[in-house]
Symmetry: C2
């Protein structure tokens, strides 16, 4: 079962309030999608994932294919039973990690052909071949609720010509994925992937083509890799108006706080990002603090405006919770001083507590966003979050 319903269309932006129904429960959209690569949202139990307000998370087909292997997960009753999470789960095609391997200068490990991608396991060197059909088959064994087509993740920067060739491959693979999906009688919700790099004509041709196929939803790829925030906005401006209204839209790999407002206003329903969990493990605490004067990093991706480093000496005696405005388990029970100490002592509990707060924080933001859409006041909320000074840490 997979249904998408739009409950309310915001008046001033393209943002929409919606609901995705799956066999494992509903997702109120717009929703943040956490990342749980190897069937674990790092350091948290399924119970805690749910307590942080997380409705759905991503698992990576590439990782699970090698460890423990999709056959084992299938034998054990599928990914939900395997990890003890009864909510919705989305898996990627495995392609992104394969192409990342190539990008990380281990080019010889990966060979792209028209049929698929040949690569070697980064763990044990085993040769493998990922095709659109193979990806669908693996994801079927995993038993995730939402699955993705294998796409050719175009590198960046890239020439128009190369981007076009890559896009044609993505489109061909999209058709092959649909064929495999039918052949394998999958009941999962298959999303097509729009690519086209930073080229307007390619993005437009891609969104038209992918939208014309009978996918359950549309994912937009290639936005998180190297492009600046400005380019992400452009891509969304080109693609947004051509997307079918009635299908859920997922933006792949984006989720900084300011990105979130941009993408929600463009009509994106779900998006995934490692930001809150990864930053948490690094001791970076999410906080609503536009008052900070720290400039964004040159890459334009890491925006330190909404974080602080808990390991700093100034927090060693700080009795306050991580976030004064937060009512999560961590903020109700622990001080900055204790969490600073845990990080400095490299105690495992440190990573848990910071991850928990960060995920809760981002899900609270999503709640506020959904409420603002309902009330047609999303831009006011954005202004409050992005410009008005609130607290100094």
């Amino acid at each position: 079962m997979f249904k998408f319903e739009i409950l309310h269309q915001e008046k001033k932006t393209k943002a929409r309030l919606g609901k995705i129904k799956t066999d494992h429960g509903e997702i109120e959209t717009p929703a943040f999608v956490a990342v749980g690569t190897a069937a674990s949202v790092k350091s948290l139990t399924p119970q805690e994932i749910s307590q942080t307000g997380t409705q759905i998370f991503f698992v990576n087909t590439f990782h699970l294919h090698f460890r423990p292997g999709e056959k084992i997960i299938k034998k054990l009753g599928g990914i939900h039973k395997f990890m003890g999470w009864n909510g919705p789960i989305i898996s990627d095609s495995g392609g992104f990690q394969v192409f990342s391997l190539a990008r990380e200068k281990e080019i010889n490990l990966v060979k792209i052909t028209e049929g698929g991608v040949e690569f070697r396991s980064p763990w044990d060197g085993t040769k493998d071949f990922l095709t659109p059909e193979e990806s669908i088959a693996i994801q079927k064994d995993l038993g995730t609720d939402i699955i993705l087509c294998l796409d050719d993740c175009t590198p960046y920067p890239v020439t128009h010509k190369k981007a076009e060739i890559s896009l044609q491959r993505t489109h061909r693979w999209a058709q092959e994925s649909l064929k495999a999906y039918k052949k394998l009688k999958s009941k999962q919700a298959l999303y097509g992937v729009v690519q086209g790099s930073v080229f307007k004509d390619l993005r437009i041709s891609s969104v038209k083509f992918i939208s014309s196929l009978p996918f359950a939803g549309i994912a937009i790829g290639g936005v998180s890799v190297g492009e600046s925030k400005k380019e992400m906005k452009k891509v969304l401006d080109w693609v947004g108006p051509l997307l079918p209204e009635n299908k859920p839209r997922h933006l792949l790999g984006v989720g900084e706080i300011d990105d979130i407002f941009t993408l929600v206003k463009a009509g994106v329903d779900t998006f995934d990002c490692v930001m809150p969990t990864r930053l948490g493990r690094m001791g970076q605490i999410l906080i609503k603090n536009p008052n900070s004067k720290i400039p964004a990093s040159p890459a334009g991706r890491q925006n330190p405006k909404f974080t602080y480093e808990i390991t700093k000496t100034k927090f060693a005696e700080d009795k306050r919770p991580l976030d004064l405005q937060c009512d999560c388990y961590v903020c109700r029970n622990f001080t900055r001083a204790y969490i600073c100490h845990l990080f400095r002592s490299r105690e495992l509990l440190a990573y848990r507590l910071a991850t928990y707060h960060n995920l809760y924080f981002i899900n609270q933001l999503m709640r506020q966003i959904r409420q603002a859409i309902k009330e047609n006041s999303l831009e006011e909320l954005e202004k409050e979050w992005l410009s008005k000074p609130t607290i100094n840490i």
Copy 2:
């Protein structure tokens, strides 16, 4: 407030059922004391520590003195408030870690004098001097419920002459600790430490001397360092009959499953060991399985009879819980296959789940032991645990 009450004396052994009352709650004895070195029982929240049945745990003065420093902990309201645990906590004197430093061949970092121990921080090289008074002062700042006298942890093996010199120092320091305790007006429960290595005359003279002083309880030290299980039993046989009945007795650093029966039968009330938590982080799962044919390790300390390695291939598809007889959160919610996968993927959740089960397991054993004492059937329980085959993993 510190009170110790004996509720029942077992008829066939020297085991006793008791209750220690502290300002932070009661401890039903015999009790296992978990280890939470740096104010964290590794990977667990205080809530979970309690859920595992843990009544009290150890923190290490040496670690906390350097990180975050006892002054900070004091400022933040003491160790209980600092870490969010409202139950009883015991701290050591800091001596054991200093002497461990010496033993780890970094001899030049440590210099023992009659007044105390001079040493350098293993983290930043800072010179420091630990005296009996300094140790009491640090532990006062920490605000733990039970504190220990600084003792000279005799190395092993050792000559009688050297052990005697070391013991004299321990006894002098015990008196100085009591003096400092009064001077500093501490309200904590101060335990004296019995030493004397493996020499009967020294142990007897030590237990007599320490018992003659006005300590709240008696700790027995130097049993975990290098001695075999047989020697531990000998020490307990010499020391046990001379211990004052009405004071609680703590055995330092011992807690393998078979040790537990030996020490409880000798009348020990509490004992601490890193075994369940450390083994958990290594993927060693505690289980009641005397059927295993694996011999004890040559050192005689690691007894693999009660553990199995969850990372083994045979568990990769095992749908069963870690322990079929266990009703802990982990055994109720996760399979061996999933935990095997988490360990193989080095997921942080792995360490948590194994630690949780192991602590729960050992505390369940302690419950059974207390029940058996009540029913005068401790030896039957021991037999059941140590000889009767139960399940094959």
